[in-house]
Symmetry: C2
Subunit: 633 residues, 2 copies
């Protein structure tokens, strides 16, 4: 057995090693102030001019000698001939020491009448009121804001020296192809360098991505040496694991020294730090999720220690909707979606696989589970680091329960109204419990037939809830041959997942002795998803399976309908007043949405709203929905 990592450091130790080995570097570059927003000043900047430079009118009006206005009053106007007209910003000539607003003056040829004495200095900005030549404008290390740029320009600058770190990024791997290339099977588009460049530029780094390098040690060596000579920090993307072509650690050891290989963080464990010619070289994991975590948690704080600007971060405190176990000894970062339910924030984790890049897109934040924590149980209060702006988090709707194509379509339509519907799988009973507990905005149910078990909403008994119909979908026999019910007698039938409408159909076929138990393959847990049913039929391991029409057709199987499955959303009555759910209902009831479901749904009931607890449901049994023409044969 081979050793996977030379040494596994904690994240905090890894960062300390990195800061200690490379205490200070990066440089300074002078750029136009118009480009400097968000950058960090590399030296203090002092005003070149006094502003205003002369006594200046603060208002539009007339400049006067205050001593000549003494005694003026509402009933006793004074007429002045010794004055000049000034507008805001004009220099007040040395002969005058006050300005009277134009609204308070009656001009009359070369003289004017005033009705109030002016005090010395009135409406005059003295020289240096804003800033005096030589005053500090911004100190070294100041992160420049738009209003600082304007001030720098006002006080004499058109350029500013800012801190900069040159970062070189080397993508390595035979399987990688460049962005814009159509990947062949097994090829992957190289995107880690793009993320690194976009992300680190925001800190003030100047990023250079080198050409893609094959898994060829001499080539890697050559590129690495060139990058180290040209950059302050080098990132080598991928080649950090234990595969046959993972040359990063070996090349670093050959050209310099390895400071660590492996960090106790998930994702991101294969991270490497090396030193070549006095420069830091970081090896990034190949999977985007791991690579991004190493950049965010290790490289970014390191660059901040070199003087670049930290990124803005928001924390939201909320409660976990699911248990969140974590391996002791690892700093773990879990992508999550946080949403607001009746004013409380609830947090749903996404699956943690480091190959699941889409979860970072779906997530609006991440949860850090420190290395000394074994995680938390559902209901615990935790802090989330947001990756979306607060206004987008406020627009998130949390849906728990079944998944189905209708909810996917609904999420697409809602997204165009800036509402993010995120759905998380759970069993019906537990999903209804979440609605009762106010830990989700709505629940999705896939109900076999149109049969609504009167006990189905018992869990909601103290809650006034409404069901919103999405539509009903045909369920039937998927096969390569077009089998109907009467054809099943001699066929191998793939079992359906427990709890599914397909499983209920099989159970009824068994009860009616249309089929017998020997025919049903994969009893127990081996068939976990409807996709697996389809796959078993396509592979020929079974002759037929019970599935939805849409999946069978997408897979190119013949389909004969047997019954329906109804898809509904359940929400609290009062949440119909929530603008986000109001938008959802508007969409459900629109003809455009109905049309978009046509390809796989019977939309007779789409958009209908029914109270869950009043028994107004159409009480039709599963049997009533048995479709009569499914005989076949």
């Amino acid at each position: 057995m081979k050793k996977r990592y030379l040494s596994l450091q904690t994240l905090s130790a890894a960062l300390t090693i990195m800061k200690t080995a490379f205490p200070q570097s990066g440089g300074s570059v002078t750029i136009s102030i118009s480009e400097s927003e968000g950058r960090v000043a590399s030296e203090p900047i002092y005003a070149r001019y006094t502003v205003p430079d002369s006594p200046t009118a603060e208002m539009d009006g007339i400049a006067v000698k205050s001593s000549e206005t003494v005694g003026a009053g509402e009933q006793r106007p004074i007429s002045l001939s010794n004055f000049v007209r000034v507008d805001t910003g004009n220099i007040v000539p040395a002969a005058f020491d006050a300005v009277i607003m134009i609204e308070d003056v009656r001009l009359d040829g070369s003289s004017c009448a005033i009705r109030k004495a002016a005090r010395p200095g009135q409406h005059i900005r003295p020289p240096g009121q804003d800033v005096r030549k030589g005053d500090l404008i911004i100190p070294q290390g100041h992160q420049i804001r738009s209003s600082d740029i304007s001030a720098l320009a006002s006080y004499g600058y058109d350029e500013v020296a800012v801190k900069v770190v040159r970062v070189g990024i080397i993508p390595v791997g035979n399987e990688l192809v460049q962005i814009g290339t159509i990947p062949r099977p097994g090829q992957v588009i190289e995107t880690n360098s793009l993320f690194a460049s976009s992300f680190l530029s925001r800190l003030g780094a100047i990023c250079t991505t080198y050409d893609l390098v094959r898994d060829d040690p001499p080539l890697i060596e050559e590129t690495l040496q060139r990058a180290v000579s040209e950059q302050d920090l080098v990132l080598i993307s991928s080649g950090t694991s234990a595969g046959r072509h993972d040359y990063s650690a070996r090349t670093i050891m050959k050209l310099g020294r390895l400071l660590f290989h492996g960090v106790a963080m998930l994702p991101g464990k294969p991270a490497i730090l090396g030193e070549i010619g006095g420069k830091p070289v970081v090896g990034l994991p190949g999977y985007p999720v791991g690579s991004q975590t190493v950049l965010r948690e290790l490289v970014a704080p390191f660059l901040v220690s070199w003087g670049l600007a930290p990124l803005a971060g928001w924390i939201v405190r909320g409660r976990l909707a699911r248990d969140m176990p974590s391996e002791l000894g690892f700093d773990e970062y879990v992508p999550v979606t946080v949403g607001s339910v009746n004013g409380s924030s609830w947090i749903f984790p996404h699956p943690r696989g480091s190959g699941l890049q889409m979860n970072l897109v779906r997530a609006n934040g991440y949860l850090h589970i420190p290395l000394a924590s074994e995680g938390w149980e559902s209901g615990a209060w935790v802090n989330i680091h947001c990756t979306s702006l607060p206004h987008q988090i406020d627009r998130t709707l949390l849906c728990v329960g079944a998944k189905n194509p209708g909810i996917t379509q609904l999420a697409y339509a809602l997204a165009n109204r800036s509402v993010m519907l995120q759905s998380f799988y759970d069993l019906h009973s537990r999903a209804l419990h979440s609605l009762k507990n106010n830990s989700c905005n709505m629940v999705a149910l896939n109900i076999p037939g149109l049969e609504v078990n009167p006990g189905m909403f018992d869990g909601l008994k103290d809650v006034s809830a409404v069901a919103l119909h999405i539509g009903r979908m045909q369920v039937g026999i998927g096969s390569r041959t077009g089998a109907g019910i009467l054809d099943l007698a001699n066929m191998r039938i793939a079992n359906a997942p427990p709890g599914s409408t397909g499983r209920m159909v099989i159970d009824r076929l068994l009860t009616e002795q249309t089929i017998n138990p020997d025919q049903v393959l994969g009893n127990g847990n081996s068939v976990k998803t409807e996709a697996a049913v389809i796959s078993v039929v396509i592979n020929g391991r079974a002759d037929a399976g019970i599935c939805s029409a849409v999946l069978a057709r997408e897979a190119g199987l013949a389909f004969v309908p047997i019954t329906y499955e109804s898809h509904v959303l359940v929400a609290r009555n009062e949440s119909l007043e929530d603008e986000r759910i109001h938008s959802l209902l508007q969409i459900l009831q629109s003809p455009e949405f109905r049309d978009s479901l046509d390809y796989c749904y019977d939309t007779t009931l789409t958009g209908k709203v029914e109270e869950c607890n009043t028994g107004s449901w159409q009480e039709v049994s599963f049997l009533d929905n048995w479709i009569s023409d499914s005989g076949g044969g």
Copy 2:
């Protein structure tokens, strides 16, 4: 009297008028995904590829048939010859259905030994595990993050369509000169277009600044017409007030129509909205503070209604350290500095003048006082909109009391350690009260002579406090002629501000009958600052004044010393453990800092720390510090 504004709208009404008159515009532009961070997608984007496209190894190891591994165990290894070596990301050939990690395999030529059965699908990523072709990646209106860019590239995109608004900015004014020009007296560097461009670009606008236009109606008209034909929104900067050359409103009325002139907001009241050729034209006030407020509070929310991205904003809740009155009927925005004192946030307002651009640089936030509020008293809890990142706010030290050159130097030195020392003027007694109340981090005192009144720290009696010496500064006679004490008998002497060391000197000279009351000019309140004393002497309205050596010399006056003024900082004992105050003390005690004070301080005591309440002070009377050689004559 003339009418200043044609109509004064509330800010909320102004925004509604603007959104209603121009319900939707702006367009879409396709840009490289590498430039798209922070931009808003103008259409939904769907995956072009299924990722992974084939069953893929999730680990480095060997691909096997799971059925051939059944029965393998720690004590019962199985030898396999039907396998292939795979690395993470490699396609698993169709003949195999599981991957065994390389760490769990003993390779032996063309066969290998395993000690554990593999379950079907183990360590294999099924096709589409991350995303399936046609899945939504990001919806229309989504603000693109770095991780979205990486995902877009992985799923087939190198470009993305984003929302864009073209904004034209026209700077107008005879007094304006371009950035990079050295302004002559009365000239102002034009920076509002730079701020507008920097600020609005962050929302996703494409900004074009037109050449500076003189106050010449035909030229303004021509430029405005060209801008309206080229842009989606036009900003005309300045020319919005009632001055003789304020042509914005008149030109808009000539070319189109005026929707409002004047908004009940401070700063920013002169804002204008017009319509020319169906396009919105906004008139911005000339002063930077007003202009920036109109851009932030009116133009930015309007552009967000057109689909651009809102800017990130942080709120900090804290207590007002000062009364904050406000005019009823106006939305007011006050620049403030918020800092942390023993874990509580305290808020100090900066002066509100719209010509005081430097206050926006000093401030780390602003307070919004809604139009229906008359403001708040000190101690009230309010929400602050931050303009600096939270980590910078945490680095702010609040100092209350006197101002002096030593504190300015200290602030500069601290800034280079990323500590922002902000000082706010207050009387000694009230400043000490703030320290007792924990509403500031430290207090600055300018103490006449070295005489420390034992009662001075009575206000702190329950607080253990320490005084940190900055240094002592000479105070004496500033004159055009080099007058000493004995020369004062026949001179006109400018009075000094109440409470100042200068005033104490004058009072003693009067007591000793060195001078008589008739000689003292500006009794009462007319001389409010030391700068005014200097100015009165320079103008010849007085022959001499009592002031500090440094101010006299800076103004080119002769100076004869009389006594000293000691400058100390007072902090709570426990705050010496605060890392920021620890840094401050390190600086105070460094030779470099002492050297930097040399030009105006006696630094014998600089950096000395004394407990305020123990009486260890050197009890020397004011008299003892009378400098003997100040006789002159």
